[in-house]
Amino acid sequence: VVRRLHVPRRLEGQRRAPQRLRPKSETKHWLESKFTSYDGKIWASGVSGDGAAILYNKDHFRKAGLDPDNPPSTWADLVDATKKLKAAGFIPFSIGVKDGFAGVVLMNFVVPQQAGGSPANLLKDAVSGEVSWTDPRLANLWERLEELKGAGAFNKNATSLEYFEGKELFDAKKASMTFTGAITFAINSVNELGEDKAGIMAAPDLEDKKGGFLPGMPLSQVITPYTKDKEAAAALLTWLHQPRAQEIMYRLSDGVMIPVDDRFNFDQVEKPWLKKVYDQVIDAMKRDIPYADGIVPFDVLGEGPMKATTLTFSDGLAPAKAAQMCQASADNWRKLNPDLIELYKKWAV
């Protein structure tokens, strides 16, 4: 299953190596192990956490008459804030859709609520064909994107920019908010701009469907079949989980690398905003709120949501057509990977 999710092919014969090389007395401390498990066995080690976030510019919020310490917590508030920011002369959201990845990022802030908390099973069912991508819980993403577009939320040059270039507009203070697909970037932006200038907001409530989370997953490392000294590699990964190593990573990265071991003393996190982010990411891991690209094979995302996002902006693709495009992409993936479907369903997350 994992091979089509970017892990090298031909793991056969070596597939138990990571499990065998790491004792349970160690792995029981790993906060992220459910994300790296398959069929009851741990396949990888996530030495730090990651997630998705919405960044916002506090100065822009102040100038638009919005409360910088209480960013929008509902979708209605978010759309309202968008309109106020636009009226104040700002670009409400920066986005780059040339590569389409922005749509996958946005998915993280809509699908979990629609799925009733954890998006994992809904996304897995959509990939394996038990739920259609035209199901309102998934198709709603395209309606929300259309609504934001209609409110004039995005920069006009969105189709000329790739995802990262869109995010850079926020860092250059040219936009008031942006969706980030990696919380590491979001933390870095707040570090760079200053906590009085930039903040991180969680996913909004969608009407009566609860938000308030930051999707979270580990950044995982695997021992490949080609690793010459597997014992040494396992020892390194095990060491990276030790409290001292986690502390070094946390300090040297200025908080960007989120510790994911319960032996790490989280009380040493001095910045309250960062502590809150850590709590939210770890909470998301416990509640199974991973980001979409951690669940959906990249092949499905690339031909479905990513292309649909680009076409939504470049060709005015209608929400219903975007949902159908995602469905066609998943259909194609299943056709080409019949051997993976059952294994995929058994995936632990």
Partner: protein, 263 residues
């Protein structure tokens, strides 16, 4: 690669599937026909590129008497060909943005344009072709100039004495002299438009928006890497090889006939 195209890997083994991978591409892959069509459309750029290279080469050959000036013009025309495609691609990605220098320049002239040339399905492929022509035509100019330099000067003198216009000299004196060079360069460019456009497309558009600029090479890359289906990639590569082979053989036959006719 051909052998690989006849198999399909599953998680445990590789299985012989005959022509199934080819059938999948032709019947089910939504990107296959767009990719083939775009490669074919890029071929339409060849006459433009040829015409441009011929005119510029003859202008330099016929109109510039100073050696120094001629060297400067040749260097300027050849410069884009020397530049890395990645660098050219990045520069044009910025140049062709909706808020980029091209639209700003058009705005200054009074044409209010905010088209994202590479981000619009209607203009993206044409823009990619424009970048390819801009970078590749310089080689043609240099090849044509080299051939013209070795052509008997008396032919051009005679044309002038007979009162031939610039266009007539190009049409009836220069082009016949360049026939074999043109044939070689066109063959090279057929191969470019089928098999060497990956860098341009990858850096400029990655095949988008949607599949508006995808080409066979990009699809081969996607199947082999991000989509992890090396067998499908191999089937596509085999088809690309066949297609290029047909063009190369066809061009060779045509060239032989032209040479036979001219002698």
């Amino acid at each position: 690669v051909v052998r690989l195209s006849l198999y399909r890997d599953n998680i445990f083994a590789s299985q012989f599937v005959g022509l199934d991978n080819f059938e999948y591409l032709v019947k089910d892959d939504p990107n296959f026909w767009p990719a083939v069509t775009h490669n074919a459309l890029l071929l339409l750029g060849l006459p433009i590129m040829l015409g441009l290279a011929l005119v510029v080469a003859f202008l330099i050959h016929d109109g510039v008497r100073s050696r120094k000036l001629s060297a400067i013009y040749r260097s300027l025309v050849f410069l884009p060909f020397v530049l890395s495609i990645v660098v050219v691609g990045r520069i044009f990605s910025i140049f062709l943005r909706s808020d980029g220098p091209l639209n700003s320049f058009a705005g200054a002239l009074g044409w209010g344009v905010d088209t994202a040339w590479l981000g619009n399905s209607g203009t993206a492929l044409g823009s990619v072709l424009g970048v390819i022509v801009w970078r590749e035509f310089g080689l043609g100019v240099i090849l044509f100039l080299a051939r013209l330099a070795s052509a008997p000067e008396e032919l051009f003198e005679a044309a002038r004495v007979e009162g031939a216009s610039w266009w007539q000299t190009l049409r009836h004196v220069a082009i016949p002299q360049l026939r074999s060079t043109i044939a070689f360069w066109m063959l090279l460019n057929v191969i470019v438009m089928f098999s060497w456009v990956f860098n341009y497309v990858y850096v400029l558009t990655k095949g988008g928006p949607g599949s508006a600029t995808t080409v066979m090479e990009l699809e081969i890359y996607d199947w082999a890497t991000t989509r992890d289906q090396p067998n499908i990639a191999a089937a596509m590569a085999t088809m690309l090889l066949l297609l290029v082979a047909i063009f190369v053989v066809g061009q060779a036959v045509l060239r032989k006939r032209l040479i036979r006719e001219s002698t």
